[in-house]
Symmetry: C2
Subunit: 298 residues, 2 copies
């Protein structure tokens, strides 16, 4: 149940100016305005599963995007049934919407590539909940090496060679002097990764998918005192989330999706920290960033 302080699940992820909305509980568009999220570049909405607290905000967003005069396509990823709900909703709109919705049905069947461009890959992987539910893994691709501007200026390298050099080639100048790639380029920034683990009972099987990610969000609906209820309802405890983080060797853990029974979240944070110290709470409006590692000085 959403409350004025804790709305339902919704996260905005910015990877190199590609914006993804991950889950979309009721009132997400209200939070957009509260936290001044610009939505013009938001082109992808991923829905982990069809429980109201993860998707009911999508209809208001679809409608508001049209009011805001959106013209470019919106890609929605989720269970096929969501497409029917959206089509049904669209059929109530007397003026329709002014942009295209491209629906991508998720299979909920193993590790699946759901989005790819030149810089990023997004995968879904199945979780263990009461209805088909998946998590998402966002992985930057290895970037081309960065050119050392100082060397370029000196060597007068033809433009057509630059791409090859960024891919790892060396260069031989007119005098026959050979320059190794290391002399001409810096290491590219290390690819970053983020995993979103939506509603799930503890599932060791996901560790292989999220191994070593820079940032892991894992649901933590209950404290240890609610462990039985967690299991019965297909949810995790904070400690279980931390155990998964630890086993997967992630760098940072964020826990969220807290039951309303916890007015104070300290117990959840404490129980997680005991197992995985680098844990933080997903409070409404909070931002986390994974900095690109600059390798120029290495």
């Amino acid at each position: 149940m959403p409350t004025p302080e804790r709305f339902s699940t919704a996260q905005v992820l910015n990877v190199l100016e590609r914006f993804f909305l991950i889950d979309c509980g009721e009132g997400t568009q209200i939070q957009f305005r509260k936290f001044k999220i610009k939505t013009g570049k938001l082109n992808h909405i991923l829905i982990s599963h069809l429980h109201g607290d993860h998707f009911l905000g999508i209809f208001g967003i679809i409608s508001t995007f049209s009011l805001l005069n959106r013209k470019h396509p919106l890609h929605i990823y989720g269970p096929y049934k969501l497409k029917q709900l959206i089509d049904n909703f669209l059929s109530t709109m007397d003026r329709g919407i002014g942009y295209e919705i491209v629906f991508h049905a998720l299979s909920y069947n193993g590790f699946e590539l759901v989005f790819e461009d030149d810089k990023l890959e997004v995968y879904s992987f199945p979780l263990r909940h009461r209805v088909p539910t998946c998590g998402f893994l966002f992985k930057e691709k290895i970037r081309l090496r960065s050119l050392r501007k100082d060397m370029l200026d000196v060597l007068n390298i033809p433009i057509k060679e630059l791409h090859g050099i960024r891919e790892g080639n060396g260069f031989t100048d007119k005098e026959g002097t050979v320059y190794s790639n290391k002399q001409l380029t810096y290491e590219p920034p290390k690819p970053r990764s983020y995993a979103f683990v939506s509603d799930t009972a503890k599932k060791e099987g996901i560790v292989e998918y999220i191994k070593g990610v820079d940032l892991l969000y894992h649901e933590a609906t209950y404290a240890e005192e609610g462990k039985k209820r967690a299991k019965d309802t297909g949810h995790s405890t904070a400690k279980q989330a931390a155990e998964i983080a630890s086993k997967a060797g992630v760098k940072q853990l964020v826990i969220g999706h807290f039951s309303n029974r916890y007015k104070n979240l300290d117990i959840l944070l404490q129980e997680a920290i005991e197992v995985f110290p680098n844990t933080q709470l997903a409070i409404d409006g909070i931002e986390f960033s994974v900095k690109a590692e600059n390798n120029r000085n290495q």
Copy 2:
């Protein structure tokens, strides 16, 4: 578009402990919690029309009522299409809901009785908007007269006579003394009435339905500067709302459904007050009451 300060339309009406929810924009259940609205006795939801800002909150409420362990039926009144949307939503719920939904399709075709019990009648009447839209009129029935306890104590009237006296009978005691009904009873409180006028272009035709109501809510999306846009989009200006209130001779007017272009609502209130002085703004969380007139001293 809802904002953190101005959510979409939703009103809770309490008539003699009968609770109605009138329209139900996104986030209504969040407002319930913010303004501490108890929902256990909320048995009737009326939806004026199928625009997102008037109905998208209903799915979260249906779902949350079940989480709150509701067992008694929920009556929903709206366009038939809403039933399909609800059925579709229910089909996504793995555990279903623990109570019955009784759907009442509105005809949008003239003045129609949609609810009646021993104390209250509710009618719908068509408005002028872009999709079929109706307003609602709530009318208390004339109540039985109130017994004068002082007289009852003295006269020792048999219990079986009391109902008749409340309906207007007199009483003759064993000595043959005749007491008129006026000696035995007070006037009942005057029946109160409330009219809800949802999204509509100015429509003089509704005046006959809402004549003399104690409290009128009328949408006022625009100020006079937006009069053309109001007409084009099937909405009213604050002044037009006041003109309707004036023509219908209502006692009190509340205006709402303000466009986001008005950060400050003074202009809307001013323009309405010039035509109908007893006007107030429907700010989120505000309460209005129509007191029962006590006729005992008349």
